[in-house]
């Protein structure tokens, strides 16, 4: 089963509207990150929220984290056509071992219609 699962799998909105994507995870984490992937491009880091933080803002992005529910949400306000992309959450696990990799979900495909 996945560590990070995004919801919904696909979201289509009109330009100017807000888009909210959710992510759930299963184990305790050190931090949670959101990445964006435009078609044919690599993943681009958007924002990071640490386990002791509850909310973070960056421009039109707002991320919340609820460690008790093991969930996070990404809100994009005043969406633009250029925001069309796949959005992934990624978790960095608390580990006593040597693991440093991020664990990704299957992503939310956001389409912003002009």
């Amino acid at each position: 089963s996945q560590q990070g699962e995004e919801d919904p799998q696909a979201l289509s909105i009109q330009e100017g509207e807000n888009a909210t994507m959710n992510c759930s995870y299963k184990t305790s984490i050190n931090n949670l990150q959101w990445y964006r992937q435009n078609s044919g491009r690599g993943l681009v880091h958007l924002i990071l929220i640490r386990s002791n933080e509850r909310e973070k803002h960056s421009g039109r992005l707002r991320v919340t984290l609820d460690t008790s529910k093991k969930s996070s949400s990404l809100l994009i306000t005043a969406s633009r056509a250029a925001d069309t992309a796949s959005y992934f959450c990624a978790t960095a696990l608390i580990s006593s071992g040597s693991a440093r990799q991020l664990t990704f979900g299957s992503g939310t495909q956001l389409t912003v219609l002009p």
């Binding site: 931090n31 681009v44 990071l48 040597s98 693991a99 440093r100 990799q101 991020l102 299957s106």
Partner: protein, 118 residues
Amino acid sequence: EAGVTQFPSHSVIEKGQTVTLRCDPISGHDNLYWYRRVMGKEIKFLLHFVKESKQDESGMPNNRFLAERTGGTYSTLKVQPAELEDSGVYFCASSQDRFPSSSANVLTFGAGSRLTVL
């Protein structure tokens, strides 16, 4: 600063053939990761290098996959022999964080190499 570059961007091969994917991380980044996304599913971790050493290869699906990072610079991922289920996009990422630093590990990704096995 040059980003993470991957080659080829797309490879189409027949089942049973061999393919080698290459990744050039950002200069100075000790950490190099390989990930794979198959058919729109989740992005799965394959392995992690710290310099030339394999730190974690728990995500490698089987012994048909071989990754190397000679000299701690670029890395190659060879699939031999390729099977149909190997089709997908292979992403490489690098980071500068020094392990076991407690700082957050933010990865810089390449554009990916799309592999199609027919």
